[in-house]
């Protein structure tokens, strides 16, 4: 594949902003702002996919599907859910300062890893190209930040945002790992995430009604 048509600088910039939106989505305490950060990230991902499409037209499909599922439907569900409840997130297990350090370390670590040993993570020739290494570094960082968010946040709404980040990380990596994935597979993978978010928020709405809170620490009924 000829990668000369790619705008390397644009892709680098967008990638960096994607990481920043992840950190904001994880760290900001107002749930509405976190959802906004997530929506911004979704739009950036669509932009990234579209810029990669310059060399791989089948990624246009990916960009279109991501636009509908990640940038329209998921934020819609999130805002609709948050709109009805308490907007302020419950205090997380790990505060702002340490979190930013974690995020920075992750980014540096993955950047160095993908520029040194990318073959382990992506054995394709494509992944040896500079922009794709950056893409993988960003994808891994977003993935691990999402996992970090799910593990350390008490607020169930925040864990759903973390889950979305986790998925975004994997989906971003597809650009380098599986650029020729058929549309049916892409469609299946993307649809699944939207349905998951919808169902989770539906169940969490039930939790909020029954328990009077979205604090996951309050979910102790099954531990007697």
């Amino acid at each position: 594949m000829n990668t000369a048509g790619l705008n390397g600088e644009l892709i680098q910039t967008l990638s960096m902003v994607v990481v920043i939106t992840s950190v904001v989505a994880v760290e900001v305490r107002r749930l509405r702002f976190a959802a906004m950060a997530y929506s911004a990230q979704a739009l950036l991902i669509v932009g990234l996919l579209a810029s990669f499409s310059a060399v791989n037209p089948s990624l246009y499909w990916w960009a279109a599907v991501a636009l509908v599922t990640k940038a329209v439907l998921t934020p819609w569900f999130l805002f609709r859910f948050i709109g009805r409840g308490e907007d302020r997130e419950l205090p997380p297990l790990i505060g702002f300062g340490p979190s930013v350090v974690v995020a920075a370390l992750l980014m540096i670590g993955f950047y160095r890893f993908t520029h040194g040993h990318v073959a382990v993570l992506a054995p394709t020739a494509l992944a040896q190209e500079g922009v794709f290494r950056t893409n993988l570094a960003v994808a891994s960082t977003v993935f691990v930040l999402g996992l970090y968010c799910v593990l350390t946040r008490r607020d169930a709404t925040k864990t759903v945002i973390g889950l979305c980040l986790l998925e975004n990380g994997v989906h971003l990596s597809l650009v380098s790992l599986a650029p020729e994935l058929p549309e049916t597979a892409l469609f299946g993978v993307a649809t699944e995430v939207v349905v998951t978010v919808f169902l989770l928020l539906y169940v969490i709405a039930g939790v909020r009604k029954e328990f009077g809170t979205t604090d996951t620490f309050a979910l102790r009924e099954l531990q007697r």
Partner: protein, 504 residues
């Protein structure tokens, strides 16, 4: 392990999951036509899956492999075994559920409009079965992930169906933990695909097909293979309930309405174990040392599950932890990668599907008749509910591995396979876990069924026939498979050959 098998194009694999899917859609669309329609379809569709599964089994036993939609769908011995298990357990569960769901307070809270929610229940029930079957017949590694995640989505609301605090907590954990877990599997699947493309032996479309990837697996660099296997084990292992990724399992299996518990413990975790075996076995021939790692994981699961079961008072939680332990035997057997190990593991997979379905149905019967499910709240049920008692004790003995019941033979095969592979440490631990299983199950049975029935239990009666007949069918199957172990041999032999990548 030759990939040169005769394949025949067939529409059977597609029908096997399209029928329950269409039936589910019909139930949702025709929700105003009353509960009779949804219940009828709920029985008919899994029955159709069973019939299709039998036909598939007949074809694969004759040495051929069914393919559909190009090579997107593929049914070999292993897939046919799973489809058959899902069909049989699904049909019996549907029959069992007919009366169970009508008892006030069992499906929804007392006073809630249970009638109105029945179509939703059965629609999701049918889609749950459809997605499980889909996962077992697909040959596309990314679609395998999609199908496994789809089983989580279709069953998520079923787990939380009761919609009280406990059910909602279980439902939230179930959806959240399994989705995180399965995302790891997606990464593993995509990495496998990317690595297969990079070997240059396959084109993009071919590299998605599991049957094709097997042929180029030896060209995948070891580092990548290791990362892919780690992600697949975490991902599908979470869904299969392998320790230490099991914490969702006891909550979900215990809080779901009993017919759903039967499906979750009986077949869903097996379908995930199938996905794990199907994908990880790709890497086995080149890296046989993986076997030690997988066996160790299985042994750990086996012990942890049964130790946790020891301290449970809630019968459904006890059975759920026992499922964790039993899936350990399946993982150990299949993880060995030898023919004998795979045969034992798959035989145990089939046996455990039948036994655990039986045991959960018995506990459901106790709940139906008494409203209680804690061991400490029940006693003397032997006289009140003779059929349920007999079925439970038989299931308990079968799962403990007592001859001449089916659990004995499959566990013995796993022990022999371990011994043959020289893993005596694993044999010792597995036998110890087996003895603990006997203690756990018989202690529960003794407290619940023997002794004197409390005065409050005067009105307790045996459950209706639509509930006990499926139980008796399963109990008879446990005895028959134990006394005539050659009966499932032709199919199990084919299935084990598919997975036996490390020779006989």
């Amino acid at each position: 392990m030759s990939e040169q098998v005769a394949t025949i194009a067939s529409s059977l694999p597609a029908w096997a999951f399209l029928v329950p899917f269409a039936a589910g859609a019909f139930v949702f669309l025709g929700r105003r036509l009353g509960p009779k329609l949804s219940q009828g379809l709920a029985v008919a569709a899994p029955l159709a899956v069973t019939v299709l599964g039998l036909e598939m089994a007949r074809v694969v036993i004759s040495g051929r492999v069914l393919t559909g939609w190009g090579n997107e769908l593929r049914v070999d011995g292993l897939s046919a075994l799973l489809v058959l298990a899902i069909g049989i357990v699904g049909t019996l569960t549907a029959v069992y559920s007919l009366r169970y769901v009508q008892q006030p307070g069992l499906l929804t809270r007392v006073g809630a409009a249970a009638e109105k929610r029945l179509p939703t229940f059965y629609g999701l029930f049918l889609w749950f079965i459809a997605t499980m079957v889909w996962g077992c017949v697909t040959n596309n590694i990314v679609m395998l992930y999609v199908a496994v995640e789809a089983t989580t989505l279709t069953s998520g609301l079923l787990v939380a169906f009761y919609w009280d605090k406990r059910a909602l907590e279980a439902g939230y954990k179930y959806l959240m933990l399994l989705t995180i877990g399965i995302t790891f599997a997606l990464f593993g699947c995509v990495l496998t695909y990317a690595a297969a493309v990079a070997t240059k032996g396959l084109t993009g479309g071919q590299a998605l097909l599991i049957s094709e990837v097997r042929g180029v697996a030896h060209l995948i660099p070891p580092g990548t293979a290791l990362v892919a296997v780690a992600f697949l084990v975490v991902g599908f292992g979470t869904k299969a309930g392998i320790a230490p990724f099991h914490p969702w399992l006891p909550d979900a299996h215990a809080e779901a309405p009993t017919p759903i518990s039967v499906l979750l413990s009986g077949v869903m975790i097996k379908m995930a174990a199938y996905a794990l075996a199907r994908t990880v076995s790709i890497f086995y021939p080149r890296w046989p040392t993986l076997a030690v790692f997988v066996v160790a994981l299985g042994v750990f699961t086996m012990v942890l599950g049964i130790v946790m079961a020891l301290v449970q008072d809630d019968l459904k939680r006890l059975l759920a932890y026992s499922s964790v332990s039993q899936i350990g035997y399946v993982v150990v057997g299949v993880g060995l990668g030898t023919y004998l190990g795979c045969y034992g593991g798959l035989f145990h997979l089939l046996n455990h599907a039948l036994i655990k379905a039986l045991l959960f149905m018995c506990v459901g019967a106790l709940i139906y008749a008494t409203g209680a499910r804690r061991i400490s709240e029940l006693s003397g049920m032997r006289e009140k509910m003779p059929i349920t008692s007999a079925c439970f004790v038989l299931g308990a003995l079968a799962i403990a591995g007592l001859p001449p019941l089916n659990g004995f033979l499959s566990k013995l095969t796993v022990y022999l396979a371990l011994a043959k592979a020289g893993m005596w440490w694993a044999v010792a631990i597995a036998i110890a876990a087996g003895l603990l299983t006997m203690v756990v199950m018989l202690r529960a049975a003794r407290t619940v069924f023997w002794g004197h029935a409390p005065a409050t239990a005067v009105a307790v009666r045996e459950v209706p026939a639509t509930m006990w007949v499926p139980m008796v069918v399963l109990a008879v199957a446990c005895v028959v498979l134990g006394v005539f172990p050659r009966l499932p041999f032709p199919l199990l032999d084919r299935a084990a050959t598919v997975l036996a990548t490390l020779g006989r």
